[in-house]
Amino acid sequence: MDEERKCGLYLLIIGLLCTFGIVMFKGMICYLLYVIAVPCLLYGIGSYLIPKTRRKNAGRLPFRGF
């Protein structure tokens, strides 16, 4: 598993836990969990939709002599 998907997995777990928390709790904490859950789920789901990279040297910035 490459690094992008590993990060995605962690964030997906956090996002799902927060969603579970939203269902369980009441009051102000719901808002807090919602704010954490949305971006985590966005990245977590997205990281499994994107294709695998086809670059030769993944992660190298295209600069002079680098």
């Binding site: 807090l32 910035l61 600069f63 002079r64 002599g65 680098f66």
Partner: protein
């Protein structure tokens, strides 16, 4: 009165002289400062690509380990001081936290081996030291005038504190290095090691907002 500025007040923790208060505003600030401190602790510094004179290639700059450790520690101290400054409801405490943030900011860049960065931090240090005088001076004047430094008591006392507020704002401006004193701090942001530099920026911006809140309250 006080809740018309900071939102709902959830509770206070009387901790001797140091009173911590939890309102909507301070909780958000506290959580943000803590989360950033954790992220800064976890993050490895980035490597920068720099253009060189008379050469075609760019140079890759890597932050060494001994430079990294002391800077990370100072960044964490800075984060904890910012988190404390968000919660405290005592003017003297707040001024202390503000100075601590100023000291930690210099500490963050002190290990960088680049002379322009060290120059900038030296100038910023001078400004920060000079700014402690109006900061603590105004806190002392407020104490002498009203007999209290608690931010819960101060709004109830019907005294005009305009002059003290202006001095306090000037002290804060010097300590966090905003607009008029900005030139002293600008070169510090070019140092390598983005998470630590981010902490400088974060602490000063959060403290500005908090100072605005305090000045509107008292």
């Amino acid at each position: 009165m006080i809740s018309s500025i900071i939102g709902q007040l959830f509770g206070i923790v009387p901790f001797g002289d140091i009173v911590f208060g939890f309102s909507e505003f301070s909780i958000i600030g506290f959580v943000v400062a803590l989360i950033f401190t954790i992220v800064v602790y976890l993050t490895k510094p980035e490597k920068q690509l720099e253009a060189q004179k008379f050469r075609v290639e760019d140079k890759l700059e890597v932050v060494s380990l001994e430079e990294l450790k002391i800077r990370r520690m100072m960044a964490i101290v800075c984060g904890i001081a910012t988190a404390g400054a968000m919660l405290t409801y005592d003017l003297f405490d707040y001024a202390l936290f503000l100075t601590l943030v100023g000291i930690a900011n210099i500490g963050i860049v002190s290990a960088v081996k680049k002379d322009w960065v060290l120059n900038a931090s030296y100038q910023y240090g001078l400004i920060a030291m000079i700014a402690t005088l109006p900061l603590f001076g105004s806190a002392g004047m407020i104490l002498a005038k009203t007999g209290t430094l608690s931010l819960f008591e101060l709004p109830k006392i019907p005294t005009s504190l305009l002059f003290e507020k202006i001095i306090f704002a000037a002290g804060m401006a010097g300590e966090t290095g905003i607009a008029p004193f900005y030139a002293s701090k600008a070169e510090m942001f070019r140092a390598p090691g983005s998470p630590y530099i981010l902490m400088i920026h974060l602490s000063s911006l959060l403290l500005i907002v908090r100072t605005v809140e305090i000045l509107l309250t008292i």
